[in-house]
C-alpha cells in the first residue's frame, strides 16, 4: 500500500528558501548529529547513544521510507516525518477509506528562529494533501513542547487529543501528550480564505 508512497511526488520540492527531498542513507549521519543534541533529544521519541544504534533502529522502523530532509543552500538543516497509513473504517468499507498520515519535524537548533521548520512543514502538508491525496493529517507531541505545538497551530491543525500523563519521558516521568489533526477539506477551505 504505502511502500512507495514517496515515489508519487516529483522530488525535490522547492519552497521560497528550502529544498525538500526524501532522505537517503547518506543523510543519516547529519540527522544523527542533530538528534543527539540535548535540546533536540528532550522532545524526540529517542536519544541515540551511538551512530550504529541509531542506524540500526532506523532500519528496524523503516525510517528512510518515512523521512524527508530540508536543505538550505545545499546544507541539511533538519528533517520531516511522513508516515502514511490506512484511514480508520468499519471493515466492510475499508477499501473506500483511503489514506492518512502522521507528520512531524525536527530542525537543527543552529537554524531555529527563521521560520524554516514552519516553511518546511507547511510544504509537507501541501504535499500530503495535493500530491498524495491524503484526507487527514495528524501530529503528536509532548504537551509541554510549546514550539512544536505552535507549528501545528500555524499549519491549521486542531487539537484532538489531550492525554493526561500518557507519555513516559526519560527525565520528567509520566507527562501529558497531545495529538493535533487537520482534514484536507479544512486545509483547502482555510487556504482559499487567504
Amino acid at each position: 500500500m504505502t511502500a512507495a508512497v514517496l515515489d508519487r511526488v516529483a522530488w525535490p520540492v522547492h519552497t521560497a528558501r528550502l529544498v525538500i527531498r526524501p532522505a537517503t542513507s547518506a543523510d543519516l549521519l547529519a540527522v544523527f548529529e542533530i538528534r543527539t543534541l540535548p535540546e533536540v533529544a528532550e522532545w524526540m521519541p529517542g536519544r541515540p547513544t551511538s551512530y550504529a544504534e541509531f542506524v540500526l533502529r532506523a532500519g528496524q522502523h523503516d525510517v528512510l521510507a518515512r523521512t524527508l530532509v530540508m536543505e538550505l543552500d545545499g546544507v541539511m538543516i533538519g528533517d520531516l516525518y511522513l508516515h502514511v497509513t490506512d484511514a480508520w473504517a468499519q471493515e466492510d468499507v475499508a477499501d473506500r477509506a483511503g489514506e492518512e498520515a502522521e507528520i512531524g519535524w525536527c530542525l537543527s537548533p543552529a537554524h531555529q528562529g527563521h521560520g524554516y521548520v514552519t516553511e518546511g512543514a507547511a510544504e509537507l502538508v501541501r504535499i500530503c494533501i495535493e500530491d498524495l491525496g491524503l484526507r487527514r493529517l495528524s501530529a503528536a507531541a509532548f504537551a509541554d513542547n510549546t514550539p512544536s505545538l505552535r507549528i501545528m497551530e500555524r499549519l491549521g491543525m486542531r487539537r484532538e487529543n489531550h492525554g493526561v500523563r500518557d507519555s513516559l519521558h526519560r527525565d520528567h516521568g509520566w507527562v501529558d501528550g497531545v495529538v493535533y489533526a487537520v482534514l484536507a477539506d479544512e486545509w483547502r477551505a482555510a487556504r482559499s480564505d487567504r
Binding site: 529517542g46 480508520w88 468499519q90 471493515e91 484532538e160 487529543n161 492525554g163 493526561v164 500523563r165 513516559l168
Partner: protein, 198 residues
C-alpha cells in the same frame, strides 16, 4: 498479578466474568452479528464463519471475557493489555502497563445496567488485580450508550477525532477516546450506579 493468576470466574452482584474459550464463540458471535450491535463495531454483521475468521486473524480470543447471568452468556468484555507510549530509553518502564477496554451486551439484556456492572468490575480487575496504571476505551462519538458507560466508570474524554472514521453508511464520523489513570479511579468504595439503563 497476571490474567491467568486471577481466580475466575470473578463474581459481581448479578454477574460472573471469566476468560472466553472456544466453546463460548458461538454465543458471542451470535451477539456480534446482530445488526444493531455491529452498527457500532469496527466489524460488520456476517456469518459465524466470518466472525471466527476475524477472531483468529486478529488474535482476539485471549482479549475476550464473557459475561454470564445465571450461567447464560449475555455479553462480553474486551481487555487488551498494551505498553504505554515512552521515549525509547525508558520503554521498559512502560511495558504492559495500560489496557484498552470495551464491552458488548446482547440487546435483549439491555436496560438493566449489566454492561455498567460488568465494565466497572473490569476496571477494578485492571487496577486492583492487574496493577495497570491507565485504561482507555474508544467509541464512535455517536455511540451515546457506550459513552455513558465510560462516564459512569469515571473515565475522562481525552480525544475527539473529527471525521476520523468511515462508517458503512458512507459518512465520515467522529470518534472519541476516554481514559482513566489508576490514581483517578474512585475505587471499590464508590459504587457505580448500575441500576440505570445502559
Amino acid at each position: 498479578m497476571t490474567l491467568d493468576q486471577i481466580s475466575w470466574p470473578v463474581r459481581t452482584e448479578r454477574l460472573a466474568i471469566r476468560p472466553a474459550t472456544v466453546d463460548d464463540l458461538e454465543a458471542l458471535g451470535r451477539i456480534q452479528n446482530l445488526p444493531e450491535v455491529a452498527a457500532w463495531l469496527p466489524t460488520c454483521a456476517g456469518t459465524q464463519a466470518d466472525y471466527l475468521l476475524r477472531m483468529g486473524r486478529h488474535g482476539l480470543l485471549p482479549r475476550t471475557l464473557v459475561v454470564e447471568r445465571d450461567s447464560v452468556i449475555i455479553g462480553e468484555l474486551y481487555l487488551h493489555i498494551t505498553s504505554g507510549w515512552a521515549q525509547s530509553e525508558v520503554a521498559d518502564d512502560a511495558r504492559d502497563c495500560e489496557a484498552e477496554i470495551g464491552w458488548g451486551l446482547d440487546p435483549a439484556q439491555q436496560g438493566h445496567g449489566y454492561a455498567t456492572e460488568a465494565a466497572a468490575e473490569l476496571v477494578r480487575i485492571c487496577f486492583q488485580d492487574l496493577g495497570l496504571r491507565r485504561l482507555t476505551a474508544g467509541a464512535f462519538a455517536d455511540n451515546a450508550a457506550s459513552l455513558r458507560i465510560m462516564e459512569r466508570l469515571g473515565m475522562r474524554r481525552e480525544t475527539l477525532g473529527v471525521r476520523t472514521t468511515l462508517h458503512r453508511s458512507g459518512r465520515w464520523v467522529d470518534s472519541t477516546k476516554y481514559a482513566m489513570l489508576a490514581d483517578e479511579w474512585p475505587g471499590v468504595a464508590h459504587q457505580v450506579d448500575a441500576g440505570e439503563p445502559a
